[in-house]
């Protein structure tokens, strides 16, 4: 039993933030957590709702830890509102990854569940990514859910430059397109 001002409550519940369930419907590609027996982890803090999404949930699992040049299998699981009908999948790669075969649909373990398997291989880039788009077609037209499968094997090269100011402030420097529009004499020089 606790009693506190709400702000204090959030602070006290900081530990729960780590368990905020933004993705109840969206487990990621990590292996499922082992069963925790009778221990009931109760989440008292609210989770972040996130932006509005179409009625499609998608998740992925990897067969192995990504390593450059080593093929692995990505399993994508999706569920959707029944009104969206059959779901389809599109995949594309980013930052250096190779899809060696098109997605193969396999039977889901639960009713209404769609599962596809995709064989991929991270290439030279340390930050490969497989972009997945799961699409359904409902009475209101097509709706889709995007998912990024990380095939990360190292740090990603940054387009911006991290700098540290004299006061210790960290700055992410982005380039500007700069142009001199006009140059004229100051008043006291005319």
């Amino acid at each position: 039993v606790r009693r506190a001002r709400r702000t204090l409550c959030w602070c006290a519940l900081a530990a729960f933030v780590a368990a905020a369930r933004v993705g109840d419907a969206e487990p990621n590609g990590a292996p499922a957590a082992p069963a925790s027996g009778s221990v009931r982890v109760k989440l008292a803090a609210r989770s972040s709702p996130g932006k509005p999404q179409p009625p499609i949930a998608a998740a992925y699992r990897l067969s192995a830890v990504p390593a450059i040049g080593m093929p692995l299998r990505v399993s994508v699981t999706a569920r959707a509102d029944a009104s969206l009908g059959d779901l389809s999948i599109e995949v594309s790669t980013a930052d250096g990854a190779s899809v060696s075969s098109p997605p193969v649909a396999v039977a889901g373990t639960k009713q209404g569940e769609y599962v596809w398997e995709i064989d991929v291989a991270p290439l030279s880039s340390p930050a490969g990514r497989l972009n997945v788009l799961v699409t359904g077609n409902g009475p209101a037209g097509p709706q889709a859910r995007s998912l990024s499968v990380l095939l990360r094997t190292g740090a990603r090269a940054e387009a911006a430059e991290l700098r540290v100011a004299p006061n210790g402030e960290r700055l992410m420097a982005l380039p500007a397109k700069e142009s001199v529009v006009e140059r004229s004499a100051p008043e006291d020089a005319r």
Partner: protein, 576 residues
Amino acid sequence: VTNLTTNRWPLLVASLLAGCGGGGGGGGGGGPQPVPTTVTVSGTVTFDSVPSVAGIGLDYANTQPKPARGVTVELLEGANVLASTTTDAAGVYSFTTTPNRAVSLRVRAEMIRVGAPSWTFTVLDNVNGDALYTLDGAVFDTGTADSTRALRAESGWNGSSYAGARSAAPFAILDTVYDGVQLVLSASPAAIFPPLQLHWSTSNVPSFGSNAIPDPDTGEIGNSFFRPGSGIFLLGAADSDTDEYDRHVIAHEWGHYLEEVFSRSDSIGGPHTRHDQLDFRVAFGEGWGNAFSAMLTGQSVYRDSFGPSQSGSFGFDVEGPLSAAQGNQNPGWYSEESIQEIIYDLFDSGVDLIRNSLVADNVALGFAPLYTVMTGDQRTTSALTSVFPFVVALRAQRPADAPLIDEVVNAQNITPVADIYGTTEAHFGNPSSSDLQSVYDLLSVNDPTPVRVCSLDDYRSTFTGSTNKLGSRRFLRFTAASAGMYTLTARAVAPLNAAADPDMILRRADEVTISNGAPSSTCSTGTPEECVESFSPTLAPGDHVLEVYEWTNTNTATEEYPPIGRTCFDVTVTQP
């Protein structure tokens, strides 16, 4: 004059030099040109604004430069800041500095104002230690002439992909924030905005970290979201989901920030989608966010780009369905779709038929009355934050508009609102349940007859689960006549589908007390009386709301402890 790279001076200088017979380095006026004591460096800061268009996603072909408004510009010498200023509404900055100095310009992705009003909004890179984004210009010599220098933050799009740095993104994000600030200032000119960090990175992907939770350090944030105390996180994954140009998305999350800091939100969050029948606090919070995004952008059609080349678009019209096929199947006080339409209809000046009904939206209150309610009665209400206290307060503030307000509300399948607790409400979900026939049940202190409420799993969604749906949490209210210790008890009653795990949360406005112990070993389907939750807080006098629920009915079907369905509890409150 040594730095004559000007457009206007060469002819003049040439003629002056000829007239004076030379005089290298000299100026005009018949003698050596004096070196000015100061020169001005001024110009504009702009960013590439890419429209997000319903149906086609980001429309790069119509990218336009827009002024970076209200952002900090620094004049640097090396790494040292010589001067700092803020761009105006046209993105204009100006510095007066000394001549012949090697300097550079740096634009910080921040909006800061002190005094009243005041604010601090910053855009940070969450995968690089929350470093502040900056737009950096090249080193130049101030010379002896005033100069005008334009800095442009480019999108990085080369016609088919992001080939360069996406410098515009942090400033596009701030642009939406700027408009939000202006909207708030229109209702509260001296508003003091608590600081807010907005986090964005090209590494922010729509996938979760290894613990199936958002991981800002790696960018695996799963979704764009607002988290109290941490700020707003926005996706930036090219060809998957980026949100820097999705103004509705940013505005929705900023609306959550606004609700959190200026109003009050009792929302429990969790996954949701438009047609869900939600916990009414979630419905109100999300409906507010969607309506606010339309108010801020001036566009009722919410749009969110995604997919390859950002060419996909998810959207809906907060005014109502884009087509009959998209109609709200479950309107009501538990529908975010209903709430967003109510709030926006109360705000906007357009007249439309509400959710395809014959009721016209004839009310146009603008933002100020809604803001006044949100920051006033909605913040302090003893009820939970929902449409009920909102409507009660709005009617009290605008009595002349009360009939029109009621029309807008009632058209959403909501019974005329009698009080902040929705006491007369008569609509309770689709399909209806005999176990859910009240918004709040009334509890009396020391009443020997317990109040029976049932926690349900009837309104779960196949894709957003049970966590935050209608009926899983039940609400009771009571009045503590005097200060002191009270004992609150929820005891399961037969029949049970499984051993019950009752939990309770006590709320008094923004004070929260939680009692969520695990069930005892003696609790079973055959011994429901052993499945009990009880706690004894010290209460202040006044109205309190008690939330009672079967814990598993707030889980998803895939969790270790999935919902056990209908579970009823006898609830009492006693004072020794």
